[in-house]
């Protein structure tokens, strides 16, 4: 299980640059970022190697921040790399609510970040398929 950062933002120009600048100035590397949009407002989902510090930095700057538990599963960065995980989830009859991905090392390692009803079941399905859920990045 891993803590993804969630930031509430109004849907206005300049919000993404503000958040990324705050993290950049604090020397925090963003591994992946996804935006959930509700028209007038939205939520940034940010994956970094330092979730605690990232949350603190954003919170200190007055942003509305929360942690969100996700499963980060390492997969091979190659054609069909995601198939193994997808099949394992299918076999365990598990649904996903949210998912996105990022490359850790081009051609070698990638990360699949998922959220579902039962994170533990997702992680154990991954493990049984020989894939590694990560607790730190």
């Amino acid at each position: 299980m891993y803590n993804e950062i969630r930031v509430f933002v109004e849907n206005k120009p300049g919000k993404l640059s503000h958040v990324t600048e705050l993290l950049g100035n604090a020397g925090i590397d963003i591994l992946a970022l996804d935006i959930a949009d509700e028209g007038q407002f939205g939520v940034f989902k940010i994956l970094t190697a330092e979730p605690d510090r990232a949350k603190q930095v954003l919170s200190d700057a007055g942003m509305t921040v929360a942690f969100n538990e996700v499963a980060c599963i390492e997969i091979a960065d190659q054609p069909g790399g995601l198939v193994k995980l997808a099949k394992a989830l299918e076999d365990a009859n598990l649904n996903l609510n949210e998912a996105y991905g990022c490359i850790l090392e081009r051609g070698k390692r990638a990360l699949f970040i998922v959220k579902g009803e039962n994170l533990e079941a997702i992680e154990s399905a991954a493990r049984s398929a020989g894939l590694m859920p990560l607790d730190s990045l």
Partner: protein
């Protein structure tokens, strides 16, 4: 209710029919009396009205309104309706701009006021064996002497503590086993907070009844105070133009304030058309004194917005009940022809703990139709990271706002600290409709 005539029992016990009969006669008298003052004499002449044209309470609509501005213009003594030697007391209300307004009382007027105030305390449950501490400022402000005379009339042991000096207030309450207090809601809260800070329990003071007024407060605040002290809080309504406190007060039911209709003729008018509001509809409270000879006031526009509660009060008193004041006419917005008060919006917002305290009401025009947008800050502490949660909560908020005002309200959820900090009501409303009347 067994009320002695010493505190106007015969008036308290009146049926609706008896009240109506009494009001007809009382209004005739009051108008004739008002006509003795230079101000109303001139006013009636200007309108070609003779006091004898008033034959029943319904005829009130023939008479002109009196506004705060009229009181200022007639200052100092334009509305004095008796020989000056008959006056034994005056009070003034502090005008926010320029001149104050002055109200004069004969001996009978002061006596009547004490009777009205005593009734108020009585229906809330106070009795002659109670000990009463008045934490209102004395002097020109009516909350001091008004409550004081009423409490004495009822026969209570009265402690005229006045305002401030919290340590002494607590000392007196303890040492003299005070059972009834009068204070502003914020001061009652201040005392409780002070005691809790000192590791003491306000419940142990043993106060049973609190008459709270002179400033607006929410039902939540009442509940909180009742929990803290273990007493019952009774809403009080009054204004210096109508003597002061003692105009309307809650009975043991705590559901609306009985307004003494033998002393005040009540009208609720639509603040735009000045016509009588439909039964149960919110409008501006307009009051006429029926039992004050020193300075009768006819159809005084209080600028307070309320409605008369429907139905018969289980306490048995037939005098009408006023609902909580929803606001002032000064705050009222007209949106698509509907009267809306910022307090109505605020009431809904306060129920949503996922929101912070700051909000702004923005009015715009789109395709010749008024649009209302409520911008409100999300609360940092309850954000759980889920966009679905906010979506659901916002939909619920929008539904409640629609139920409250009767049309669809746009809701924008904004970041904490992005709206101007709340200071007073005026800044919360941004009207961008331009030229809209």
């Amino acid at each position: 209710m067994d009320v002695s005539d010493q505190i106007g029992g015969r008036f308290v016990r009146m049926s609706r029919d008896e009240i109506a009969d009494f009001q007809g006669e009382a209004l005739k008298h009051s108008v004739a009396q008002a006509a003795k003052s230079p101000w109303y004499a001139a006013k009636l002449k200007e309108l070609g009205l003779d006091p004898r044209d008033i034959k029943s309470a319904d005829n009130i609509i023939k008479l002109p309104f009196t506004t705060k501005e009229d009181l200022r213009l007639s200052y100092p003594a334009g509305m004095l309706a008796v020989e000056p030697e008959k006056i034994i007391r005056m009070h003034t209300s502090s005008g926010t701009t320029g001149k104050p307004t002055a109200i004069f009382h004969t001996r009978e007027d002061v006596d009547c006021w004490a009777e009205l105030m005593a009734r108020c305390l009585y229906i809330a449950g106070a009795r002659s064996h109670d000990v009463f501490q008045n934490m209102s400022g004395y002097g020109l402000f009516t909350g001091g002497l008004g409550l004081h005379y009423g409490a004495e009339r009822l026969g209570m042991w009265v402690i005229p503590a006045g305002a401030g000096n919290t340590a002494r207030q607590i000392l007196l309450i303890r040492d003299f086993h005070v059972t009834v207090i009068h204070a502003t809601p914020s001061y009652a809260m201040h005392i409780a907070e002070r005691m809790v800070q000192d590791g003491e329990d306000p419940k142990r003071l043993g106060i049973k009844i609190a008459a709270l007024g002179a400033e607006p407060y929410t039902e939540e605040m009442r509940v909180k105070l009742q929990e803290l002290y273990g007493f019952k809080v009774f809403n009080s309504y009054g204004l210096s133009e109508m003597n002061g406190p003692g105009v309307a007060f809650e009975c043991g039911e705590q559901r609306g304030m009985h307004i003494w209709e033998d002393a005040f003729l009540v009208e609720i008018v639509n603040p735009d058309t000045f016509e009588h509001a439909r039964p149960g509809e919110v409008g501006e409270l307009v009051l006429t004194t029926l039992r004050r000879d020193g300075m009768p006031i006819i159809r005084y526009r209080t600028r307070d917005l309320t409605r008369i509660l429907d139905g018969v009060c289980p306490c048995g008193i037939a005098h009408a009940r006023l609902d909580r004041m929803v606001g002032r006419t000064d705050d009222m917005l007209i949106i698509r022809g509907v009267n809306v008060f910022p307090s109505q919006i605020e009431e809904v917002l306060m129920r949503h703990t996922w929101l912070g305290g700051n909000y702004v009401i923005q009015l715009t025009m789109r395709e010749a139709l008024d649009q209302m947008t409520v911008k409100v800050e999300i609360a940092k502490s309850t954000f759980d990271g889920s966009i679905e949660t906010i979506r659901t909560q916002r939909a619920e908020l929008q539904k409640e706002l629609r139920e409250q005002v009767g049309f669809t309200v746009n809701v924008e959820i904004v970041e904490p600290g992005s709206l101007p900090a709340s200071e007073g009501k005026a800044r919360r409303v941004i009207d961008e409709r331009g030229g809209h009347v």
